[in-house]
């Protein structure tokens, strides 16, 4: 139940976006992947969920080959990906967005139980269950996107920039929920974030990407205290 990535390379046209990345994330860990714009964070995540084809290398989880499986298949293996930019469908209602995440399970009763648990974590979603996702605020959309991913009862959760475009107070709330969910549900989480400090504060381990390569990897707390990382990514 360990996520093992080895010598992963992903190309974006002529540019190598992810360059020989190797990492190991243990079960139940929350790993924050931080780095500047264009460091290859999103591409790394997209390769892990089968959205972007990899050039070479390997990535396995629970014995499943992540690089050569379609995303719809990976969901069935317990891998859920929340893509960048509040991945909800605005034309569908909040409830429909959630139900979508559990359609493949074909078990209405179980889905309802999962949905109720998600409503406990994010009560705002229950209040707005019948509304179109289009009417939600940015923070609520992010909650919905995470909620949709949780409907699949994942074991490995890939989160791409959940803080993007949100107000500081809302970011703090979302990060706290991610931390709580990881612990409560025993999830393994890969959290890609521009907001480096916020992500490292809730993470167990941190991975710093620079121009597609791993620049540093350590316990999250150690990275926060690392003067070089502080200067380059945390801004103080």
């Amino acid at each position: 139940m360990t996520l093992i990535v080895s010598e992963l390379c992903v190309d974006h046209g002529a540019i190598r976006a992810v360059d020989h990345v190797s990492l190991r994330i243990e079960q139940g860990q929350l790993a924050a992947v931080i780095g500047a714009n264009g460091a290859g964070k999103t591409t790394l995540l997209r390769a892990l969920s089968g959205l972007t084809p990899a050039r070479s290398g390997s990535a396995t989880w629970k014995g499943h080959d992540l690089l050569h499986s379609k995303p719809e298949k990976l969901v069935r293996f317990g891998v859920s990906h929340v893509s960048e930019g509040k991945s909800v469908i605005p034309e569908l209602s909040v409830e429909e967005n959630l139900n979508l995440g559990a359609l493949w399970r074909r078990n209405a009763k179980e889905s309802e139980q999962t949905r109720n648990k998600i409503f406990e974590t994010f009560p705002r979603l229950e209040e707005r269950a019948g509304q179109l996702a289009d009417t939600l605020s940015g923070g609520e959309r992010q909650m919905l996107a995470i909620g949709r991913a949780l409907m699949a009862k994942p074991e490995l959760l890939l989160l791409d920039e959940p803080s993007l475009g949100l107000a500081p107070l809302v970011i703090a709330q979302i990060f706290q929920s991610i931390r709580d969910l990881t612990t409560q549900m025993g999830l393994t989480v890969v959290l890609v974030e521009q907001n480096a400090l916020g992500a490292l504060e809730i993470a167990d381990v941190g991975i710093v990407l620079n121009l597609g390569r791993i620049a540093a990897t350590d316990r999250a707390q150690s990275l926060i205290e690392n003067p070089q990382v502080r200067a380059a990514y945390l801004g103080y």
């Binding site: 959205l51 719809e72 991945s87 909800v88 469908i89 569908l92 979508l100 995440g101 359609l103 493949w104």
Partner: protein
């Protein structure tokens, strides 16, 4: 007064058939973002299948059902074998246009193929019910039992499809795949299979349009019959007027087009038929570019 009522009735029935065709085009557009010009060719093929079935089973209704089922199958095959490969192979600037040109080509191939195999034969589909209007207090109205069937068939199909789309899991998957294929995929929806399903339903709707259109017109079926040109052009215009995204829009677009055309036919001049349709299209596009039921252009997920 009677003339006017009759005009409206004729407009509604012919419009109902355009609606069916428009529904087919909307379903394909929603599932793969392709305007399927081959839809009329598929409808033609399905109607020939229906014709053959009539010869064998001597029932219009069985033939209609079989034409719809086989039409759905043909449409699904076209999506799986033809369109899917096309989407995979084409990238760059041509990718947006290639599938549409390909459907035009397919239309030609289907018409030509049918011409080769069925061309010389006289093929007539007669209405299963009387197409002579009901007579009330001396006046024979333009509403016949068969036209009533057409109107109800379209209404039933629209209600059925709306229910499938809004109330069932398959419908949720169909909508999600149309609006945001990547998110649907991440949520575990097998988007490829759902697309094929969208094409299949469209094939069935187009087959129904062909099977109802032919006997409601002259009944003569040929690869280059006027009836199918009408289906192709007016079905497309109805779909665009309706906003290309909405089933309800397709039905409203079809009925509106049917009514306007019937009024022009009756009160102005038959030669203006096609021109009127295009004028209506342009007016709608100018006044309400998103179509009658289309949403204002905005963020697209």
């Amino acid at each position: 007064m009677f003339t006017f009522i009759d005009t409206l009735l004729i407009g509604l029935t012919s419009g109902a058939v355009y609606s069916l065709m428009a529904i087919a085009l909307v379903l394909v557009w929603r599932s793969t973002r392709v305007v399927n010009f081959a839809q009329a060719g598929q409808a033609l093929l399905s109607t020939y299948i229906g014709y053959e079935c009539m010869g064998r089973f001597h029932s219009f209704w069985i033939a209609l059902a079989l034409a719809m089922i086989l039409g759905a199958g043909v449409s699904a095959l076209i999506e799986m074998l033809f369109m899917r490969t096309l989407f995979k192979r084409n990238t760059g600037p041509i990718a947006g246009v290639a599938p549409i040109i390909a459907t035009l080509g397919l239309l030609g191939i289907i018409r030509g193929g049918i011409g080769i195999f069925m061309g010389g034969k006289e093929t007539i589909i007669r209405p299963p019910l009387s197409n002579v209007g009901f007579t009330i207090s001396g006046h024979t109205f333009a509403l016949s039992p068969f036209k009533l069937v057409i109107l109800s068939a379209v209404l039933i199909m629209m209600i059925l499809l709306s229910l499938i789309f809004t109330k069932t899991n398959i419908g949720l998957a169909l909508r999600a795949s149309a609006y945001a294929p990547e998110i649907a995929r991440l949520a575990g929806v097998k988007v490829d299979a759902i697309r094929t399903l969208g094409w299949a339903i469209a094939g069935a709707a187009g087959a129904a349009a062909g099977m109802l259109q032919t006997p409601n017109g002259t009944g003569a079926l040929s690869p280059d019959s006027l009836e199918f040109s009408l289906l192709l052009v007016f079905g497309f215009i109805a779909a665009v007027i309706g906003g290309l995204e909405s089933l309800v829009g397709a039905v409203i677009g079809g009925l509106l087009l049917g009514l306007v055309l019937a009024i022009v036919l009756m009160y102005v001049n038959a030669t203006l038929l096609f021109m009127t349709a295009f004028v209506l299209l342009i007016v709608v596009l100018l006044v309400r570019p998103q179509g009658i039921m289309g949403k204002k252009a905005g963020r697209r997920a």
